[in-house]
Symmetry: C2
Subunit: 407 residues, 2 copies
C-alpha cells in the first residue's frame, strides 16, 4: 500500500496542534492504514491523530520517530498515571507492522467500507471516547450506522449462558426491535448470539461489533448468523478485514459496544465475565447501566446481582423497563407492575371483615358471623345485605355462606 | 371466665392517663380476656390499654361505654386521619364477644401460655408497634421468645412458591440457623414452610407466628411441622387457643413477624402477595428489608424485583449478605463476590498481549508473534522467555505455541 505524499500545507511544522477532521480520500486511506498498524483503542495513537490528523500521525510513524513536544507530553501524562512509557518501542512496533501491512494489503480498502470521524454516517456518540475513539470503523452491511444507533440498546452477557439467559436475551431483544430499538451486541456464543437472533425476529436492524475483521467469522459456528446480520443489519469492527481476534481486542472492543448505545443491559454474567467490562465502560460513559436478575442458585447471574447490589446497575425485568431508562423522559414510561384486580378490592373495610367471617360451605347465623367479624349486629346485617346483592354470598334457610365459585 | 373485681385504687377516676405495665395475675387474666374480645392489633383497644391498663380497659368494655375524654380523643384522631368512627358500635362489638367468650372459656389460660408486656420473656422490640402492640402473645413451645428473637430474621414469601423459591428459602434458613440466627415465619404453605423446615435442620430455634390459636393446625397439612416446631422452637399467636384464622388476621399478624426480627427477607412474592404486606411493615418499623431475585420469567418473583427496583429492599443472594445487613456493624461483613483467580492475572500487560498472540497449536516465529502482539521484537522476546519459564508456552523447532492444557 502506498501512502500519498504529504501535501506541503500539511507538513509537520504546520499541522502541529491543529485538530483535523477532514474526510478526504487521503484521510480515509491514512486511517485505514492506521487500523492495520496500531491496536484498536491505543491512547497514544489516539492522541497522535488528535494532534496531527491521520496523515500527520502516519508520517511520524513511517519516519519512526515522534515530534519531541508530543513525545514529552505523552511521557508526562503516563508518568502522572503511574506508568513508565517506552515510546521508542511503541513507535518501532507500529513501524514494523506498517511494513508487514504494506506487503499484505495491495488494495487500500479491499474487503470492506471504512467509516471515519467526520463522515455523515459516523455515530457522534463515539466521540465521547475521547482519544480512545476508534480510528475508523470497518462496516459490512447496508444499514446506516448513525441512524441505526440513534435509538439503540446493548445487550451483553456470558458466553456460558443458561437456557434462561438466552431465552431472556432473545425476548428482550425481540421486544426492543419490535419497538424500533436497535440491539447492539458482540457476536459471541450465549447471550450475544441470542440477542442478535431475537433482534432479527423484530423490525429494527441489529449491529454486531466484532473484535476481528468483518470478513472473519468468529466463532465460525456463527457464519450463518453473521450472514443474516449482513443482510438485515451491520457487522462493524475497528480491525480491518482479515484480522483475527485476541483477548485484548475483545476487551477493547467492549468500549465501542457501550459507547454506541444509550444503555447497556447485562443479561447474565458471572463475576469475571467480559460483560462486566462492557458494563464498566457504559457506566464510565454515563450510559444507562441495567442488569437482569436471575436465580441466585446460578453462578452466571452473580455479576448481575453484584451490579444491582452495588447500585451500579438498575434491575430491569421487562422491555418496558429498559425503554423507560433509555427512552425520552416522560414519553417512554414503563407501567408499574400491578397484580390482577379482585372484586373484593372495591369493598370497604367493614364489609371485607364480614365477608371473611362468612363460612365457605356450611351456613352460619347472624350472631356467629358478627362475632367472628368482631362487629355489632346491625353493621354486620347491613354488610351481609350488600354482599348478598353483589353476589359474594348466599342466604339460605340456616344463614349465610359464600357463593359457590363460578364454573 | 370471671374478671376479678376492680380494686378501689384502680377505679376509673383514678387510673385515667396512667400507663400501667404491671404483670400481676389480674393483668394477665385481663389481657387474656382482651385477646378473646378484640381483634389483634385494634388501635382503639391498644390506646385503651395504654391509657387505663388492661383491667381498666376491660372494665369499660364490660360497662359498654368508654370514658368520654378518651372517646372524644379517639374520635378526633380518627377524624384527623379522614375516618369516621362509630365508637358505640366498636364497644358493643367487644361487649358481645366478651359475653360469648365467657360462655366458651371456662379456664382462664387453658390451652396455652400467655406472655404479656412486662414479662421478662417479652420481646421489647414489639413495643416499636406503639398502640398496635399485641395485647399479649399466646405461646406453645419451650424456647424463650425474647432470647430467641435477639438475633432473628424473618423469611416470608408466596404460598404458591416454585421449587426454586422453596429451595432458596430452605437453604437461606438452614444457613441462618447454623450461624445461630433464629428464623421467623408464618407457617403457611410454600416459602413459610420451607423456611421453618430449613431452620429445623440448623441449630437455632425457629418461631412460627400464627394467625390462629397455637392449638389450631392451619393449614392442617402442617400438623407435623408445627409439632416439630413445638419441640424445637415456638408457636406464637396473638389469638387465644381455638381461634381460626381470617384474611384480616393474616394481614394483622404480619406486623408481628416484621417487628420481632431485625430484618425481613422476601424470598418470592407476586405483586399482590401478602408477603409484601409484611415487607411494608418491616420498612415502616425501620427493620432491614431484603428481597431475593429470581427469574424474570416467573410471576412469583415480580414483587421481589419491584421492591429492589424501587430501592425499598436490598437485593440479597446469600446467607452472608443477609447477616451483613442484620448483624453487628463491622462484625458480620459479607465477603465480596469474587471469581476464580487465574494464573494469567499475575502477568503484566505486555506479557498478556504476547501470550494472547502465541498460537494454540501450530508454532509461530518471533516476528509473527511480535507483529500480532503489536510489540517490538526485543520486548516480545523477553516476554516469550518469561512465559516459557512460567510454563504458559513451549518453544519448538518452528517457534512458540501454547503449552497443552494439563490433563
Amino acid at each position: 500500500m502506498t501512502i500519498p505524499a504529504t501535501p506541503p500545507s500539511l507538513r509537520r511544522s504546520h499541522i502541529q496542534h491543529i485538530k483535523v477532521e477532514a474526510t478526504g480520500d487521503a484521510d480515509r486511506l491514512a486511517r485505514a492504514e492506521i487500523t492495520r498498524i496500531a491496536e484498536p483503542g491505543d491512547p497514544i495513537m489516539g492522541s497522535l491523530i488528535e494532534h496531527y490528523g491521520p496523515q500527520g500521525a502516519l508520517e511520524q510513524v513511517r519516519q519512526g520517530v515522534l515530534e519531541p513536544e508530543f513525545a514529552q507530553a505523552e511521557r508526562e501524562r503516563a508518568y502522572g498515571e503511574g506508568r513508565r512509557l517506552n515510546l521508542g518501542q511503541v513507535v518501532t512496533g507500529w513501524a514494523n507492522r506498517a511494513v508487514s501491512a504494506a506487503s499484505r494489503a495491495p488494495d487500500d480498502l479491499a474487503g470492506g467500507r471504512l467509516l471515519i470521524p467526520g463522515d455523515p454516517g459516523w455515530p457522534s456518540q463515539l466521540n465521547d471516547l475521547g482519544r480512545l475513539r476508534p480510528y475508523g470503523l470497518w462496516l459490512d452491511g447496508q444499514e446506516d450506522l448513525r441512524f441505526a444507533c440513534l435509538r439503540s440498546v446493548s445487550l451483553v452477557g456470558a458466553r456460558a449462558a443458561t437456557a434462561y439467559g438466552t431465552h431472556v436475551a432473545a425476548e428482550l431483544s425481540a421486544g426492543l426491535s419490535d419497538r424500533s430499538w436497535t440491539v447492539i451486541s458482540g457476536g459471541a456464543y450465549g447471550i450475544d448470539a441470542a440477542a442478535h437472533r431475537g433482534a432479527l425476529a423484530g423490525v429494527a436492524p441489529t449491529v454486531v461489533v466484532l473484535a476481528c475483521g468483518t470478513d472473519v467469522s468468529y466463532p465460525s459456528a456463527h457464519q450463518d448468523l453473521f450472514q443474516a446480520v449482513r443482510e438485515r443489519g451491520l457487522l462493524i469492527s475497528e480491525s480491518p478485514p482479515g484480522v483475527h481476534p485476541t483477548r485484548m481486542r475483545f476487551l477493547v472492543r467492549n468500549r465501542v459496544i457501550a459507547a454506541l448505545s444509550r444503555g447497556t443491559v447485562v443479561v447474565q454474567a458471572a463475576i469475571r465475565s467480559g460483560a462486566l467490562n462492557t458494563a464498566a465502560h457504559a457506566a464510565a460513559l454515563n450510559r444507562q447501566l441495567m442488569a437482569v436478575p436471575g436465580p441466585i442458585t446460578c453462578d452466571v447471574s452473580t455479576g448481575c446481582h453484584a451490579l444491582i447490589r452495588q447500585n451500579r446497575a438498575t434491575c430491569v425485568t421487562s422491555v418496558a423497563e429498559v425503554i423507560e431508562l433509555v427512552g425520552s423522559i416522560g414519553e417512554d414510561l414503563a407501567p408499574t407492575a400491578r397484580g390482577p384486580v379482585h372484586p373484593r378490592d372495591s369493598l370497604n373495610e367493614e364489609t371485607k371483615r364480614v365477608l371473611d367471617a362468612v363460612p365457605a360451605r356450611i351456613p352460619q347465623g347472624l350472631a356467629t358471623i358478627a362475632n367472628a367479624a368482631g362487629l355489632p349486629l346491625p353493621t354486620t346485617l347491613a354488610c351481609l345485605g350488600g354482599l348478598e346483592s353483589a353476589g359474594f354470598i348466599r342466604r339460605t334457610a340456616d344463614g349465610w355462606r359464600l357463593s359457590p365459585p363460578s364454573p
